[in-house]
C-alpha cells in the first residue's frame, strides 16, 4: 500500500474533500487523525473506518492553543506525523468588495491563511524530528485565478501558495516537502454554498457558469482531488516540492 505505516493529520476532515481524502488514506494503509471544528462529522467516519486506523480531534485552526493540542493529540495517538494536509477552509460570503463588510475578509483569512500558518508552525517541528514528511495545503483554482464576488476567498487561496513556496524552501533541509493541491469546482457543500451565494446577490447561476468554462465540462468529484493528495503524500512524489498541483478539469488553461 502506498501510505503503509504513515501517519496522516488532516484538518477539515469532515468536509467533502476531507472525507474523501480520509477514505483514500485509510485504504492505502495510513493511520489518520481527522481534525475539524467539531467531531460530529468526523466521529461517524471514525466509527465506520475503525478506531485502530483513525481517530478524531476537535480544532479551531485559528486558535494557536487548539492547533498545538491537535498536533499533540496526533503524536500521542499515532506516534508522529508523516503527512499533514492543511485542508480546513471556509468560503466566506459571496459579494462584491464594495458591498462586503471587512469582517468577511478577516474571517476568511483567519481560517484559510492563519490556520494554515499555525498548522505549519506546530506540525513541522514534529515532522522534522521524525525525519521528514509531506505537507500539502488545499488551495484552489481560486488560488491562481480571479473571479468577481469571491475576492476574500481568492485572496486567501493565493496567499497560501506564497506560504507554501516559502515553507518548501525552509523545510527542504529537514526532508519535508510542501505543495498545494488546487481543486477547481468540486461537488461539495462548499461549492453548493458558493452557488447559493451567487444566486442571492443576483450574480447568476454560478454552477452553469463554471461548467461552461471548465474544459472537461463538469464538476470534479472529491475522490479525484483525494487521488492527488495520495500521490503527493506518498513516496511516489519524492522529488515534488514547492509546486502547485491543479485538479481543475482544465479550468486554469
Amino acid at each position: 500500500m502506498r501510505l503503509d505505516k504513515k501517519v496522516v493529520l488532516i484538518t477539515g476532515a469532515g468536509g467533502g474533500i476531507g472525507q474523501a481524502a480520509v477514505r483514500k488514506f485509510v485504504s492505502e494503509g495510513a493511520k489518520v487523525m481527522l481534525a475539524d471544528i467539531g467531531t460530529e462529522s468526523t466521529q461517524s467516519l471514525v466509527d465506520e473506518l475503525g478506531s485502530d486506523q483513525c481517530a478524531c480531534v476537535a480544532v479551531d485552526v485559528t486558535q494557536a492553543d487548539q492547533v498545538e493540542n491537535m498536533v499533540r493529540a496526533t503524536v500521542d495517538t499515532f506516534g508522529g506525523i508523516d503527512v499533514f494536509v492543511a485542508n480546513a477552509g471556509i468560503e466566506g460570503k459571496v459579494g462584491s468588495i464594495i458591498d462586503t463588510d471587512v469582517s468577511n475578509l478577516d474571517n476568511v483569512m483567519a481560517v484559510n491563511v492563519r490556520g494554515v500558518w499555525l498548522g505549519l508552525h506546530y506540525v513541522v517541528p514534529v515532522m522534522r524530528d521524525g525525519g521528514g514528511g509531506s505537507i500539502m495545503i488545499t488551495s484552489s483554482g481560486a488560488g491562481v485565478q480571479g473571479s468577481p464576488n469571491t475576492a476574500c476567498y481568492n485572496a486567501s487561496k493565493h496567499a497560501v501558495i506564497g506560504l507554501m513556496r516559502c515553507a518548501a524552501l525552509e523545510f527542504a533541509q529537514f526532508g519535508i516537502r510542501v505543495n498545494t493541491v488546487n481543486p477547481g469546482a468540486v461537488e461539495t457543500r462548499m461549492m453548493a454554498s458558493i452557488v447559493d451565494g451567487f444566486a442571492e446577490v443576483g450574480a447568476g447561476d454560478f454552477r452553469a457558469m463554471v461548467e461552461a468554462v471548465t474544459p472537461l465540462g463538469r464538476y470534479g468529484q472529491p475522490d479525484e482531488v483525494a487521488n492527488m493528495m495520495v500521490f503527493l503524500g506518498s513516496d511516489e512524489s519524492s522529488y515534488c516540492t514547492g509546486s502547485v498541483y491543479m485538479v481543475d478539469g482544465g479550468n486554469a488553461t
Binding site: 524552501l169 506518498s234 522529488y239 516540492t241 514547492g242 509546486s243 491543479m246 478539469g249 482544465g250 488553461t253
Partner: protein, 249 residues
C-alpha cells in the same frame, strides 16, 4: 506501486535512454504493451533488448519525431501491431551545448525547435487522430521546469519548452470534450545522458533545487504515470512539476 496499465498500449518517444527509457520500464512493469522510438538505432536496439529481457511486450521503432512522414509511419506501425494507442508520452528532445544567446547558430536553434516543439506537434497530431477514432486517449508531454523558469545559456531549449507548455494547454482544451486528456510534466534536472553531456558540474546544478539533489528518472516516471492513469481523471491542460522545488526558489 499504484499504477496498473495492464494491456494498455503506450507509446514513449525518445525512449532509448534517460527519462524516456525510465518511463518505458515503468509502464512495462505496470503491465503495458509498449512502443518505443529513438533516433539512434544503437540506443533503440539496446533498450528493446533490455525490455524484452525483462519480459515486456515491446515494439521498437527507429523514428525522427521532427519528420511528419516518419511520425505517421510510426503511428501506422503501432496500430498495425497493437490495434490502438491508449497513452502517448511525447518525450523525444534535444538541446544545444550551453552557450550565450548571441553565439547560438540559426541551424542549432532550428534543430532544437524541430525536435522539441515541432516533434511534439507532429506526434500529437498523429496520436490524436488515432485517439479520436477510438474515442479516448491520454497524452503526457515532456515539458520541463524550464517551461516556467529560466536557464541561462540554454535559450533554444528553454524557448522550446515554454512553447510545449502553451501547446499542451491549448490542445488540451480543444479535445477535453472528447475524452482525450492532455497534460505535461515539468521535471527538474535529472542526471540523464543529455544533462550529463551539457553540464560540467552536476553538484552545482543540484543546488538550484530546494531538495539539493538531482531527481531520479523513476521520480519523473512516477509523475508521468500519474498523469496517464485514471487517478488524474479531473486534470487536463495541467503542468505537473517534479522539480525538487526549483520553481519555488
Amino acid at each position: 506501486m499504484a499504477f496498473d496499465f495492464k494491456d494498455k498500449v503506450v507509446l514513449i518517444t525518445g525512449a532509448g535512454a534517460g527519462l524516456g527509457y525510465a518511463c518505458a520500464v515503468a509502464f512495462a512493469n505496470a503491465g503495458a504493451k509498449i512502443a518505443i522510438t529513438d533516433i539512434s538505432q544503437d540506443a533503440l536496439d539496446k533498450a528493446v533488448d533490455d525490455l524484452n529481457a525483462s519480459g515486456a511486450e515491446v515494439l521498437g521503432l527507429l523514428n525522427d519525431a521532427s519528420d511528419s512522414a516518419d511520425v505517421n509511419a510510426m503511428l501506422g506501425a503501432i496500430v498495425a501491431r497493437f490495434g490502438r494507442l491508449d497513452i502517448a508520452v511525447n518525450n523525444a528532445g534535444t538541446a544545444t551545448p550551453l552557450q550565450e544567446f548571441h553565439e547560438v547558430s540559426e541551424a542549432e536553434f532550428d534543430r532544437v525547435i524541430a525536435v522539441n516543439l515541432k516533434g511534439v506537434w507532429l506526434c500529437m497530431q498523429a496520436e490524436i487522430r488515432q485517439m479520436l477514432e477510438q474515442g479516448c486517449g491520454r497524452i503526457v508531454n515532456m515539458a520541463s521546469a524550464t517551461s516556467r523558469n529560466t536557464f541561462p545559456n540554454a535559450s533554444p531549449y528553454v524557448t522550446s519548452k515554454f512553447a510545449v507548455a502553451g501547446l499542451t494547454r491549448t490542445v488540451a482544451v480543444e479535445y477535453a470534450d472528447r475524452d482525450i486528456r492532455i497534460n505535461a510534466i515539468c521535471p527538474g534536472n535529472v542526471a540523464t545522458p543529455l544533462v550529463v553531456s551539457l553540464v560540467e558540474d552536476l553538484s552545482v546544478l543540484a543546488t538550484k533545487h530546494a531538495i539539493k539533489r538531482l531527481g531520479t528518472p523513476e521520480e519523473v516516471a512516477n509523475g508521468v504515470m500519474f498523469l496517464a492513469s485514471d487517478l488524474s481523471s479531473f486534470s487536463t491542460g495541467s503542468l505537473l512539476e517534479v522539480d525538487g522545488g526549483w520553481n519555488a526558489i
